[in-house]
Amino acid sequence: MKSPSARRLTAALLSLLLSAVPALGGCSKPGAAQGEPITLLNVSYDPTRELYTDLNAAFAKQWEAKHGTKLVIKQSHGGSGKQARAVIDGLDADVVTLALAYDIDMLHDKGQLIPADWQKRLPSNSSPYTSTIVFVVRKGNPKAIRDWEDLLREGVSVITPNPKTSGGARWNYLAAWGYARRKAGGDDAKAREFISRLFKNVPVLDSGARGATTTFAERGLGDVLIAWENEAFLLTGEVGKDEFEIIVPSVSILAEPPVALVDKNVDRKGTRAAAEAWLQYLYTDEGQELAAKHHFRPRSQKVAAKYAHRFPTVSLFTIDEVFGGWKQSQKQHFDDGGSFDQLYVPQAQ
């Protein structure tokens, strides 16, 4: 039935397909020989793009001077959870720098790429820099927002992204919960009540933190934006100086965006030494200075003291103290049927 020429074509197509397979596999040759350039991939979340551009350039220079080999650090940015899933699904990250420890935990739980105790391998919970959750209000603070309580007032419209899709929003949510819980002497029922009143004032739930910022800043929606301090600094920087101001609440959460080595990937690629050195670099004075420059709170006391005038003092609690860590909080608050879902479903029934 088939003509000879058709058979030849089929054979040609098949051989083409087969020859492509080893070519694809050949890319991941292990071991970088001396003098060959090393390439690292840092898979990160959205607002760290500028920070890592600076850090990478500075570290690559240092590395080249010391080892004489060229070091290229590639960056990938996106939503924290999405980035973690990409790594689990095979994105060749040497290091990950994400918005919350829960996403890195999953590299162990779902991908077996790192050991379970990854967060103990580097100082300060593997978070070389921190941030916190603050408010951004319109210039002059027309609604007189001073603290978390003010967000519950009638007529105050609050913008915060959807904690189901945004890692940053989960920090916002926990910051409010932690404040309310502390105020009520540790009563979670009171905290739930507080949160439910707060979210009655939230008209829109953007899918990501930058989306929420756009809604507040460009669309003119809302009286208060709940945001990461580093994002708030960007918003009230040169562009928004005359439009917005930052209000620091009395109590907030210590946001710890962690970093980790992806063991399985660096061992296969032979890049462990460079990746580890890069992570250590984040803790050096130079790395800490750059973090402060990009509005993240440095961990090093020396650098923190130098920039103390920039970062207002807030009473900060950690997620481990109040919520027993990320896995616990994720399950209790953000997974299906968690406290966040409960805010919406019964109300509609």
Partner: protein, 281 residues
Amino acid sequence: MHSSARRRVLPGFGLTLGLSWLYLGLIVLLPLSGLFLKTFSLSWAQFWDTVAAPRVLAAYRLSFGAALAAALLNAVFGLLVAWVLVRYRFPGKALVDALVDLPFALPTAVAGLTLTTLYSRNGWYGQHLEALGFQVAFTPVGIVIALTFIGLPFVVRTVQPVLEDIDADVEEAAATLGATPWQVFTRVLFPSVMPALLSGFTLAFARAIGEYGSVVFISGNMPMKTEIAPLLIITRLEQYDYAGATAIAGVMLAVSFAMLLAVNLLQRWTHRRFETRPGTG
């Protein structure tokens, strides 16, 4: 004689059919079967709890409803645009023709952001609409607008070539036989355009059901109100619940497939009806 009757007139049937199956298998069936396979890691009760939750049902209603509304809008106005482009000459026609494809070329996120900028309360349209008491951005209406935007080219581009193929002679013949313009439209033009219009409608509808990028910006994502089904899939993934995500997606896929199949059958039927009419009547 016998063997030649079985032989097809066009050569290469075996090879092309084989390659088509291979291609469809690799590009469509393999990923989709992966999706269903993942769903099977759930027990029946877990599956049902996932897809029948009130919030998920609300999202299905919104996604399918808004997609239907958008596809219907596009069917009406897309037909109009195609008609104008085929039947009239006017300055700037090439420009209008090119404009139709723009929604295809624009990244959906850009489309979503642009529409939100226009329709939010300080946007060009939004400020006037809000003065009249209409809120578009962050409501289901906004979702329909985004879906209409991305679906427009489908209807225009499927109807256009068919309209081009209809000779003006046919209409003139109908007119000389005493048909009113309305009769010419309903009895002559519409039946020939109907199958293509249905295709365009179906494509626009199918595209809109799964749309995520342009909608999340304008929808506001409020649970039970403006939360579309693809967003719920993303939220499942955010909690690393792959099976739950594929369960929601699987139901969407099954419903979409059933609808597409029904429209395809309907289309064949209308086509046949039109084709056989000259013989029977």
